[in-house]
């Protein structure tokens, strides 16, 4: 069966060092993928040189987009106002035509998305879903007998759930199959899952661990209170959940660090991605490749990574985290989508930052001990 094949494959890459055959396969795979990209780039260049090129500038895209949008809106308005029988007879096909125009517009956005700024993509798609909503309204108003829907079976359910849609604010009023999340209780998982390695449920403790510099594992910190945590060496992923009044120092992480529900803490972290949810009154000292994000957080402050232990520089380098990108201060608040600074986070003033934190190798016990 399908699942069985994957098992042996995953075993290969878990080995500390890859055997030459696997390594070769992977190299070939990456090359194949990168060739795909090259040939696409090539195509895009040749497309640019002949005159049928797609619109490779934001402005001409926006011009074309708004023109199409306006004509769809005008046509929608016209459909709403028709009164003579002849035009009424044509309504159905007119509305179908409109639906196709909207699909075309969506395709235009998708085709141009690789060079458009994300804000433009976002606002274009918002416009498109508004148009779709207006079209569906027009459909149900003007063609009352045959319900406009991409599905038939759910029509009855739609009516029953009509109120819940309004609450959840779905933009298309016809589809209502999703129930409010709280009505669906997660069935208890009835299979035993092994826990990943980690420090859990500790109070007033100093928790120290060293990982190999070939580190390929993940580590979890959860339900800690008034603890100091020092993790040295390399990891691939770190999960942090429910910490209060803790100080946490972590060596480089090749993948991401996911933080949820922390309060009155200090974190010193280096990672490719850092995602912070439900944090309060906490300082983050970061080295990070991409822009850190915060969501549902308040009074969180940011400063650059300031850790020191023997071998850290090499570990950082091996994890692709040597050299500060300055991204520690480029925080995106996913709950605050306006141009002005989010009130939920700030830069930690220099005179309030802790001085460099040194972890001596005597303190760190080995992973294998």
């Amino acid at each position: 069966m399908e699942e069985d094949q994957s098992k042996s494959r995953t075993k290969d890459i878990r080995d500390e060092s890859l055997d030459p055959i696997t390594e070769k396969k992977q190299a070939a795979m990456l090359e194949r993928l990168s060739n795909l990209h090259q040939s696409r780039l090539q195509e895009s260049i040749s497309r640019k040189t002949d005159n049928s090129s797609p619109l490779e500038s934001t402005k001409s895209f926006l011009d074309r987009f708004s023109e199409a949008k306006r004509s769809i809106q005008d046509e929608l308005d016209r459909c709403r106002l028709v009164s003579d029988p002849e035009s009424k007879g044509r309504l159905k096909s007119d509305l179908e035509q409109l639906s196709m125009s909207i699909a075309e517009l969506e395709k235009l956005v998708s085709e141009n998305s690789y060079f458009l700024p994300s804000y433009e993509i976002r606002s274009s798609l918002t416009s498109i879903s508004e148009l779709k909503e207006r079209l569906e309204n027009a459909n149900s108003m003007l063609l009352p007998k045959k319900k406009f829907a991409f599905k038939n079976k759910a029509a009855k359910k739609d009516q029953n759930n009509a109120t819940s849609t309004a609450e959840t604010g779905a933009s298309d009023s016809v589809s209502v199959d999703i129930k409010a999340p709280e009505t669906i209780l997660p069935e208890k998982l009835n299979i035993q899952i092994r826990d990943s390695p980690g420090f859990r449920n500790r109070v007033d403790a100093v928790l120290v661990k060293h990982f190999k510099s070939s580190g390929k594992g993940d580590f979890t910190l959860s339900d800690l209170k008034s603890c100091e945590v020092r993790l040295t060496g390399r990891l691939r992923a770190v999960f942090i959940h429910r910490l209060k009044s803790c100080r946490v120092f972590v060596g480089p992480v090749l993948g991401s660090i996911l933080i949820e529900e922390v309060e009155d803490c200090l974190f010193m972290l280096a990672s490719h991605q850092i995602r912070i949810h439900h944090a309060r009154n906490t300082d983050f000292y970061l080295r990070v490749r991409s822009r850190p994000i915060v969501e549902d957080s308040s009074s969180v402050r940011f400063a650059p990574y300031h850790l020191s232990y023997e071998g850290l520089d090499k570990d950082l380098q091996d994890s692709g985290l040597d050299g500060d990108t300055g991204n520690w201060g480029n925080v995106d608040d996913f709950r605050w989508l306006r141009a002005v600074q989010s009130p939920n986070w700030s830069i930690l003033p220099e005179d309030e930052r802790v001085s460099i934190v040194k972890i001596s190798s005597a303190e760190t016990c080995s992973e294998d001990s």
């Binding site: 890459i13 990209h37 993509i121 779905a170 589809s175 999703i178 669906i184 997660p186 969501e295």
Partner: protein
């Protein structure tokens, strides 16, 4: 002629497929899409809203919609359901704590009528992490055996870091969608 059949006809002509990438935040959706597209994956910021990629894959054009998984925007997923041919559900195989959350979101998604015809590829991602659950274990936790009989689905272990498993998964998905949509060609 119904609207649906008109749209199918257009799509058939252009050999287009619409693929929706979903899963919890941090599962690796954006990294997978960039990797499939052969792009640089060294710096990826968490996705706010969505990315769209148009990718040529074999003789098909894939429109891949990579939708942000942040809790605050999961309710918007439904805006992307229309005309979805293939669904890719990405799981972080090392995130044991949120597997229950993951199962719940997947179950909710599969109840969605508009997605009932879509082929489902489940990617058990991050297999390069030591201690990650195997695709078999993920399948058990998600209770995939209980899936609706009519659903075409497959689970594949993969790593967006090493690239392994990705082409196997997408090859299956594209073939499966193609055999349904373009059968009349």
């Amino acid at each position: 002629m119904g609207l649906l059949s008109i749209i199918r006809k257009i799509k058939r002509k252009e050999k287009e497929m619409r693929i929706l990438m979903v899963g919890l935040d941090n599962s690796g959706k954006t990294t997978i899409v960039l990797r499939i597209n052969g792009e640089d994956t060294s710096v990826i910021s968490p996705t706010l809203g969505f990315n769209i990629k148009t990718i040529k894959y074999d003789k098909y054009i894939l429109n891949i919609w990579d939708v942000g998984g942040q809790r605050t925007i999961r309710s918007y997923w439904r805006n992307y359901f229309e005309q979805t041919d293939g669904l890719v559900w990405v799981v972080d195989s090392s995130d044991v704590r949120r597997l229950e959350d993951c199962k719940m979101e997947l179950d909710n998604l599969l109840k969605e009528e508009r997605l009932s015809g879509a082929s489902l590829l489940i990617l058990a991602n991050k297999q390069d992490i030591q201690g990650a659950l195997t695709p078999n274990e993920i399948a058990k936790v998600l209770n995939l055996d209980a899936m609706d009989r009519t659903r075409h689905w497959k689970i594949v272990g993969c790593s967006a870091y090493t690239g392994e498993g990705l082409l196997e998964g997408f090859d299956w998905l594209v073939q499966d969608v193609a055999s349904r949509i373009y059968i009349l060609d």
